[in-house]
């Protein structure tokens, strides 16, 4: 330090003489110069650099003389002497010598201090470069299981809160390499949006997190390790976040699991879109009217958000496709929604559910209410309708069945020796910590989270998962720091559901909206929620393109080999 400070002090004192005129005192100039010179010397980097660095520092320091002149001579000194700052033209002209003095002082300081330190180091040896700051070892390993809203938001929040703390490592284990924005999934199935546009790559979204693409096979709660079947390594943890979400729950037997398409992942949406296009192409070549009608009947099981949005989207898509298939008539096309209750969209108020049903009916969707899909076989979907006294079974000739009628927590949860509810979701405290398991947290669709105010379990929606993720991230940081945990509470903002072209229902903080305005709300709100600017732009472009061009009917999955394989 002395090799920098001493030359800085002396060179600063010398250069400070140039400030004498402006400060009306040579000794004051030398004193200010000495202080600034010492600080400047201490701030010099190690290593010092060649002669070019001398030139850099001389002119940089000279430039910095300008604000110093403004601060000291134009403002500070006049104020100290009870006068107004001298920033008028006359005042600044009067202070021109001080300006020249500060500029030359800066230049001399940079030149002299850097030059003299170089000479000193030549004779006394170069000051040791500051040791490369070695990052401290990782002390806490946070592992997040699940790449859905809950898991990714937890990782993002932890990245924000832990920032450059190298003692905490973050790992996210996900079966997919992207976060799927599920509210727009129906638009992918309906060929309105490109599939990848609603998925955000995890690796580019989470720069501070190690992303492990793997399926979780088991969690050893005692050894505090996560096992994955695809990798030899086990992933140790100090804090484990269970955010594995839910999977479609298809009833076993009755052929539904074999014949129904699921609607949960991006691959599911792509498969549905291709199945629709495939069915149209096959119907176009089919001469048998009944068979053609079966090909053009698409049954959606479940009248919740997913089912209603999918049925509405498919209705728009398929009726638009008819223009390209002159052999097929609108009468032969059926989008059929089967729902177990008397009204659809139980998440919304009754009036909005009724509005949605009427609008969808008007646009061509067929509803089978108070009914459920009981079985499926090739070309046939069997439904049971609730009668006054007994259930009535009915067969619908349909080649396509999509199942949206139920989900269950990830099967991994069933393997854990943890308290669960009847669905199989892990029950947690209102801090999202699993009771009796230090460092274990759960949230989202795979957990039962009691609200801190009401004590009631939170609904398994993305809206709640996002807020739970923020709380869990905060609580993990608090736990690491030994601070008290914060309980989770969130009042739902509302719900939005789009059921067709320019038609949506919205219930926001008790206010009900429907029709075009609600549709605008849906698009605006979900576009803003879509992660990443790039994705927003891509989706917006897709929507604009749709204004001018028809939806794409290019088939990207060929079902013919699969059919041949099934027959053999």
């Amino acid at each position: 330090m002395l090799r920098r400070a001493v030359p800085g002090f002396f060179c600063g004192s010398l250069a400070g003489l140039l400030l004498g005129d402006g400060l009306s005192s040579l000794s004051l100039g030398a004193a200010i110069g000495a202080v600034l010179g010492t600080l400047y010397g201490l701030a010099l980097p190690r290593p010092l650099g060649g002669p070019g660095a001398v030139a850099d520092r001389a002119l940089t320091a000279a430039t910095l003389g300008l604000p110093l002149w403004g601060a000291v001579n134009v403002i500070l000194l006049p104020l100290l002497s009870g006068r107004a700052p001298q920033w008028s033209a006359e005042g600044m002209r009067a202070l021109f010598p001080a300006l020249a003095g500060w500029l030359l002082f800066g230049f001399s300081l940079g030149l002299l201090v850097t030059g003299v330190v170089r000479v000193v180091e030549y004779f006394l040896g170069v000051a040791a470069a500051l040791p490369n700051e070695k990052l401290p070892a990782v002390k806490t390993r946070v592992v997040i299981l699940g790449g859905g809203f809950a898991g990714v938001t937890t990782a993002l929040e932890l990245e924000k809160q832990l920032r450059d703390d190298p003692t905490v490592s973050l790992t996210l284990v996900s079966e997919t390499n992207a976060l799927l924005f599920t509210p727009m999934l129906a638009e992918v199935a309906a060929s309105s949006l490109e599939p990848t546009h609603i998925s955000t790559p995890l690796r580019s979204s989470l720069p501070r997190t190690r992303v492990v693409r793997a399926k979780v096979s088991a969690v050893d709660l005692d050894a505090r390790q996560v096992h994955t079947p695809d990798r030899a390594e086990t992933i140790p943890y100090d804090h484990l976040v269970l955010a594995l979400g839910a999977v479609s729950k298809l009833p076993p037997g009755a052929g539904i699991a074999e014949h129904a398409l699921e609607f949960k992942t991006l691959a599911d949406a792509i498969r549905i879109r291709n199945r629709v296009i495939d069915a149209f192409d096959r119907a176009d070549a089919e001469e048998d009217g009944q068979r053609r009608r079966a090909l053009l009947t698409f049954v959606v099981a479940g009248g919740g958000f997913s089912g209603a949005e999918l049925a509405g989207g498919l209705n728009d898509f398929t009726r638009g496709m008819l223009a390209d298939y002159p052999n097929l008539s609108a009468d032969e096309l059926r989008i059929m929604l089967v729902h177990s209750r008397a009204g659809i969209l139980p998440e919304l108020s009754e009036s909005l559910g009724k509005y949605a049903l009427e609008r969808m009916q008007a646009r061509g969707v067929t509803f089978v209410l108070n009914a459920r899909v009981a079985a499926a076989r090739d070309g046939v979907v069997v439904i049971t309708k609730k009668g006054k006294e007994q259930e009535k079974e009915e067969e619908i000739a349909a080649e396509t069945l999509v199942w949206t009628a139920g989900v269950a927590p990830s099967p991994v949860m069933q393997e854990l020796a943890l308290p669960r509810d009847k669905r199989g979701a892990v029950t947690v405290e209102n801090t999202l910590a699993v009771a009796g398991q230090p460092g274990l947290w759960a949230l989202g669709d795979c957990a039962v989270v009691p609200d801190a105010k009401t004590g009631k379990p939170c609904p398994p929606t993305a809206q709640f998962a996002l807020r739970q993720a923020r709380t869990v991230a905060r609580n993990i940081c608090a736990s690491i720091a030994g601070e008290p945990l914060r309980p989770f509470h969130f009042d739902s903002l509302g719900t939005l559901c789009v059921v067709g072209h320019h038609t949506a229902c919205a219930e926001i903080k008790g206010l009900k909206f429907s029709g075009f305005f609600a549709w605008l709300l849906w698009r605006g709100i979900y576009l803003s929620k879509l992660p990443g600017l790039e994705r927003k732009v891509r989706v917006l472009v897709d929507w604009v393109i749709e204004l001018f061009f028809p939806r794409d009917i290019v088939q990207t999955i060929d079902f013919e080999p699969q059919r041949e394989e099934a027959k053999s």
Partner: protein
């Protein structure tokens, strides 16, 4: 292959001596004797060559370093007067020396050393076509803006006089030819150093000032077969032209950077092999946000100065009112918008606080020229008046603009650092971040000193 230090020192000594000899011949080397002046020129030339041997490695870089050192030399020669009045008078009296030091001593020294130096391995590649096309187009647009004042000041017939005519149309044509040539030379000289829009505008500002000394003060009279008049009085007469050159330079810099970035983006960075992990979209949006916040803080610091000079009513008039409250709102709104502009223009330009203050003050002074002296009068319905009197009246806000720029840039740097720090945990991101930053060794320090020094000194001396 790099040139040896001895060769560069010899070149510096020779060009420095020749420059000093010409200054002696022009009578601008007093109070030194002829021989002493030539020897001193040689020594200073060699010293400059030694100091900048790793810096002045292109003609553009050499030119800027040399202009900055010439300004230091002139300032040093102006010191020594006993009283304040004497010194200001001495500085004004020595105005011809300033022109001489810059054009006869500094510019040739820097250009020659930049030409004979060999650039180091790994230096940015140079594209002649990009420099000429982008620079030429930028020059034409900048020339159009400058032409507005020239038309008002009846300057075109004067230009037409170069070819023995007084036709304004011919003068205008010649003006655009010059604008195109200067723009193209901007690309040729500074392509390697220009990175973002803001730094490019800074280079343009400095180049515009340089061309004021070289063009109307020197070449124009020479082409008209007169001896150049480097007196302060003549400089005062040409204050409007100085403003025009500054605005022209700023426009050339910004447009050159825009075209250059377009070129680089379209032909180079769009290649997936060269693509950054994050597109420029999200990066820019983040910079705009940080800049807006920094601008708000800068505006709050600038606020008391505006109150002190009773400027709030004047600012309120921009929104059609008179009240102080409206003035505050408009001032803060402008501060935020300009702050966002700083974020957009100067993204990743500052590796440290010193650099941030340099760029920030350059940004602040640019807005003093563009905003206070040009756009504000136009917005208020009057025509812009690039006169000494207008500059003298606006000097009271010059310091505020400098402080606003310095504060905005410092706050922006802190926000940028805050984001970068945690990215540095991962070596891949650390390397990527390092590639985006302005490297050490560009003539940025010379640019700050030259452009800011003269940007403040010239209005004080000429107004």
């Amino acid at each position: 292959m790099k040139r040896s230090t001895a060769f560069l020192l010899a070149m510096g000594a020779i060009v420095g001596s020749l420059g000093a000899a010409v200054l002696v011949w022009l009578g601008l080397a007093s109070p030194l004797g002829s021989a002493t002046a030539v020897v001193a020129g040689g020594v200073l030339g060699a010293l400059f060559a030694w100091l900048t041997k790793a810096r002045a490695n292109t003609p553009g870089a050499g030119l800027l370093w040399a202009l900055a050192f010439a300004l230091v030399l002139w300032l040093a020669s102006s010191l020594g007067a006993k009283t304040t009045t004497e010194m200001l008078a001495a500085a004004r009296l020595h105005f011809p020396q300033l022109v001489g030091y810059l054009l006869v001593f500094g510019a040739p020294l820097g250009l020659v050393l930049g030409l004979v130096s060999r650039r180091e391995k790994g230096a940015a590649p140079f594209s002649l076509s990009r420099a000429l096309v982008a620079g030429g187009l930028a020059g034409i647009v900048g020339g159009w803006a400058f032409g507005q004042w020239m038309e008002k000041a009846h300057f075109f017939p004067l230009i037409a006089g170069l070819v023995g005519s007084s036709s304004p149309g011919l003068g205008k044509t010649l003006h655009f030819v010059f604008a195109l040539i200067i723009g193209a030379t901007f690309g040729l000289l500074f392509q390697r150093d220009v990175r973002g829009y803001g730094s490019s505008a800074g280079w343009g500002l400095a180049y515009g000032i340089f061309w004021w000394f070289l063009g109307p003060l020197t070449l124009l009279p020479l082409l008209q077969h007169h001896l150049p008049d480097w007196s302060l009085a003549h400089g005062r007469e040409l204050f409007g032209s100085l403003m025009g050159h500054i605005i022209y330079g700023l426009l050339v810099g910004v447009i050159y950077a825009a075209l250059d970035r377009l070129w680089v983006g379209f032909f180079i960075e769009s290649d997936p092999i060269n693509r950054h992990p994050h597109g420029p979209g999200s990066r820019t949006l983040r910079s705009l946000g940080w800049g807006a916040l920094a601008g708000l803080i800068g505006g709050l610091v600038f606020w008391p100065q505006i109150v002190a000079v009773d400027g709030l009513h004047w600012i309120a008039r921009l929104a059609g009112g008179e009240s102080s409250t409206l003035g505050v709102v408009v001032h803060l709104f402008i501060s935020v918008v300009l702050g966002a502009g700083y974020g957009f223009l100067f993204e990743r330009e500052s590796p440290d606080a010193g650099a941030a203050v340099g760029w920030g003050m350059l940004y602040g002074i640019s807005w003093w020229f563009v905003g206070t002296l040009t756009l504000f009068p136009t917005w208020l319905g009057a025509s812009f008046t690039w006169t000494n009197e207008a500059a003298a009246g606006a000097l009271s806000s010059l310091l505020g603009h400098l402080l606003y720029g310095a504060i905005t840039a410092t706050v922006y740097l802190l926000l940028e650092r805050r984001h970068q720090d945690w990215l540095r945990l991962d070596p891949r991101f650390a390397a990527h971040e390092a590639r985006l930053e302005r490297p050490v060794g560009t003539p940025a320090p010379a640019l700050w000193f030259f452009a800011l020094g003269l940007g403040v000194i010239l209005p004080i001396l000429l107004s």
